[in-house]
Subunit: 353 residues, 2 copies
């Protein structure tokens, strides 16, 4: 209960690429909305440096020890996107910093809302956040020079807690159905387990129905106007969740518009759903990075720590500005608006609405 805690410490992790720009913009918006709480000492922002690819590579740790210690001193963190090395890009074979935090802080639920009120779209994705291809991501096996194997891991406990979180959310928010997404016709053992657990968890929620969908046809259904309105709360294994939420975010105006909560029993971390956009940085366009994703994550953070009203106001402003963004996205143009200008625009929209 965050009511009882004072001060609530919000850690800010800038990250790589466009990360520091958009994380700072989100921090500014939060500081503005929580200015009374900041003034009274109830809320404190703490900037945490060092979660950069340079520093992670130098320490050979996906979360350097001193950074992790600081993170654990915060009640919640807001994290900018970080660069994830891949074979051959020059960086050592380090695990992704997001994935590292998700595992080490046991942030098992990756909650990603996508809303397009004008089209009746109001989806909340519950992406499992610690298992699947991510469990042993860096530890695949080169059996021979020509044969490589990776492992997909699904546990009963891991499946149960994310599926239960989805059903509980549906119940709390008055939704009447949960959609479970797998590829159980092919990936029979692990996705079969996920579906089995879904069947069991569903028994605890007699008022809520559920339906299984395959990930392939689900990517079609999300952009099928005849289907879009039928989905409400979705629960998915990690990688399918990763894939489907980027598509869903595009419907909302682009991955740049979607935030996510990484929630565990003890810690939580709020971030954009997209990466650090090295292309934008290379092309010298970092200052045009859309901060909406990080601001959306900030709105979720405020709700999480008990500032429901400020959170809701910010969500609403994002929906309004998002309408404009979607229009721009549909025409395939860039907004031509800097991160800072967009932050101002959001704050003004909060005041106006």
């Amino acid at each position: 209960d965050f009511n009882a805690i004072s001060p609530i410490v919000i850690g800010i992790l800038g990250g790589d690429g466009i990360g520091p720009t958009i994380a700072e913009e989100s921090r500014k918006v939060l500081e503005y909305l929580l200015r009374d709480q900041v003034a009274s000492g109830k809320v404190v922002f703490r900037i945490i440096d060092g979660l950069t690819i340079e520093n992670r590579a130098a320490n050979m740790q996906s979360i350097p020890d001193d950074v992790l210690a600081e993170i654990k001193e915060c009640h919640v963190t807001l994290k900018g996107p970080t660069h994830t090395p891949e074979q051959g890009d020059g960086w050592p074979n380090l695990e992704s910093a997001n994935v590292g935090m998700r595992k080490v802080l046991d942030l098992f639920a990756n909650v990603r809302p996508v809303r397009v009120p004008a089209q009746g779209i109001d989806w909340t994705f519950f992406r499992e956040n610690t298992e699947d291809m991510y469990a042993v991501g860096s530890q695949g096996v080169n059996v021979t020079d020509d044969l490589a194997i990776d492992f997909r891991v699904i546990t009963s406990q891991g499946s149960e807690r994310i599926i239960d979180a989805a059903f509980a959310h549906a119940k709390r928010t008055g939704k009447d159905s949960v959609t479970i997404v797998t590829k159980a016709n092919i990936v029979k053992t692990t996705d079969g387990k996920f579906l089995d657990i879904a069947r069991k968890v569903a028994e605890d929620y007699p008022g809520i129905s559920w339906e299984g969908w395959y990930i392939d046809i689900m990517t079609a259904a999300l952009i099928n106007p005849a289907r879009q309105r039928q989905f409400q709360v979705l629960a998915l294994p990690n990688l399918y969740g990763d894939i489907l939420t980027d598509e869903a975010a595009q419907i909302q105006g682009g991955v740049g518009t979607a935030g996510s909560a990484n929630v565990g029993k003890v810690y939580s971390m709020f971030e954009a759903i997209h990466g650090s956009a090295p292309r934008m940085v290379q092309e010298g366009r970092a200052q045009y990075a859309d901060p909406s994703s990080m601001v959306r994550a900030g709105a979720m953070l405020m709700e999480h720590i008990g500032f429901q009203e400020s959170g809701a106001r910010l969500h609403k402003a994002l929906d309004i500005c998002g309408q404009y963004e979607r229009t721009v996205a549909m025409t395939g143009r860039s907004t031509g608006v800097t991160s800072g200008e967009y932050g101002q625009y959001l704050m003004a929209t909060v005041e106006d609405s």
Copy 2:
């Protein structure tokens, strides 16, 4: 060389659910377009029964031996969708019939074109068809009651032949780029191998550039008007190909509109990209199944066996009718047209254009 072969034997496999309806509709259209060749004995259609879920379950084989023997007597086959059992649906744990055929006939390239001429979309997906999660799909391990593992297998040879097929296609059709889709930032060993091989194969095609994309952001890029035109030929591991092509097909009007070629060194099989639609059958709507996917597969089949002109005419008719279908899909309504009526409509369109 199919010019030298006479008769060319085209096997027709009905499959399950809506399969027999739409396979038969496609056969009719082919028979109509190839009527001279049928009359002269150059082309023979051979109906192959027995690839039904009932028969496969009774034989406990994804392709019963006698069916396989008949398939091998044909030069090419046109296959309707088949039901793939999943845990708990009452059928035994059999491998998917598509997947069985792909493996046993070594149909390593799953080629899936998606075209929306009005939007400048002209994509050809080269989906690897024998490895990835599909390699040992039914043989995951329940390590304990609570811990399940599946295996993802990627080989150098398997990656090379599909990536090479994609580059060769780009070269042949005058395209200047190939897009490689992986999740190499997480699935480092197997997707790292796929990317490594792409780097090597690309060296053999100096005129063609290539770019790597991650599967998550790729699902967003496909529906991003600012990105759509930049993709031409795409090469992907099996499951990402499965996922992305259903989304791409939806942009074209729905999975019901997309056909695919499963091509190997010796055999080839042409099919819809979607499943057998048990829901449609349950809801008594099987006769309204859109046969376009199977007709599209038929057009690809005709091109493959040397009837380029008839194939091209049929593709064109499908593009024209597809425009109408997309309009209907956008409004979220069903066409209300039966399979048979749609077949007639396609034949009339071929004649008119």
